[in-house]
């Protein structure tokens, strides 16, 4: 009974992907011209290979998160995606952000997620359900969204200007404590509140009383 929906989703989704690929292939050279710092012609260096690998890791992890039936696998996929993103940060010469990504996400958020999974699913239960719903419509919408964003990404003539990759930790520290001082303090405040709130919400005795 779901077949037509699935069929519809697959067709539209694949149509979107085909469209995107077509667009990419058709508009490759201008896209390169637009985005590339260097001309398209050039040796395929290792850095490029690493980039693609990281990108693939990221996308794959995300796909695992999105599609895996087992939530534990989803968490692992999330780990991969986060790592990939950190790698991309490095490629984008945002080293501090990359480090922060690794520390906060993988060191904090991911751990939290895993804890949550464990707490909310009985230990020892074999399959940890990660059932999905509205698969077709969700897929459809996501595909359209993806197509759109890809079109935007490749069609818009971004005025790119080269910028050297220099260490950013110290400048970020100055920026946070000078230019962005107030948001920084607010962020710390938010974290405090979050801490307290999370504790209050999570403790069941209090709510029990």
């Amino acid at each position: 009974m779901r077949t037509p929906k699935k069929l519809l989703a697959w067709t539209v989704g694949s149509a979107a992907v085909i469209g995107v690929v077509g667009i990419l292939s058709a508009r490759l050279s201008p896209a390169m011209a637009a985005g590339g710092a260097r001309p398209l012609a050039g040796p395929f260096t290792i850095a490029d290979a690493i980039f693609w690998g990281v990108a693939a890791l990221t996308v794959g992890g995300a796909a695992a998160v999105a599609l895996s039936r087992n939530i534990v696998y989803s968490a692992l996929g999330l780990l991969a995606a986060l790592l990939g993103v950190a790698g991309l940060y490095v490629f984008l010469s945002a080293d501090f952000v990359a480090v922060a990504q690794v520390m906060i996400y993988i060191g904090g958020v991911l751990i939290l997620v895993l804890f949550a999974i464990m707490l909310t699913n009985r230990i020892g239960e074999v399959n940890i359900s990660n059932a999905s719903m509205g698969w077709a419509s969700g897929g459809l919408l996501s595909a359209v969204m993806l197509a759109l964003v890809l079109v935007v990404a490749f069609e818009v003539p971004w005025n790119v200007r080269p910028s050297g990759g220099n260490p950013t930790t110290a400048p970020i520290g100055h920026a946070l404590l000078q230019q962005w001082l107030l948001p920084f303090e607010l962020a710390s405040l938010i974290l405090l509140c979050t801490l307290i709130g999370a504790i209050i919400i999570a403790r069941k005795e209090i709510r029990a009383e």
């Binding site: 999330l78 945002a94 999905s132």
Partner: protein
Amino acid sequence: MIPTLSHYLAVAAVLFTLGLFTVLTRRNAVAILMGVELMLNGANLNLVAFNKFVVGGLTGQTFALFVVVLAAAEAAVGLAIVLSIFHTFKTIDVRAADLMRE
């Protein structure tokens, strides 16, 4: 071939879309939170990429940092809520948590 801005944007787009897909399709609150994290990462990637290729300076990275911080906070609170939902409903299926509907 040299990765350009568009490639980063493409990756970010895929991240975002998959996160969206996750949020849309999952019934598991934790999975939904993961989807949110994916979308946030997609956005962060955009920020940093634009920072590198277009804007320059540090603004993008700083924003990325703030987003990371907020994401962490969000994750903490969200998961706490998930826990409390679980305590309440003995499940984390979001369909169960619709008391406020009526």
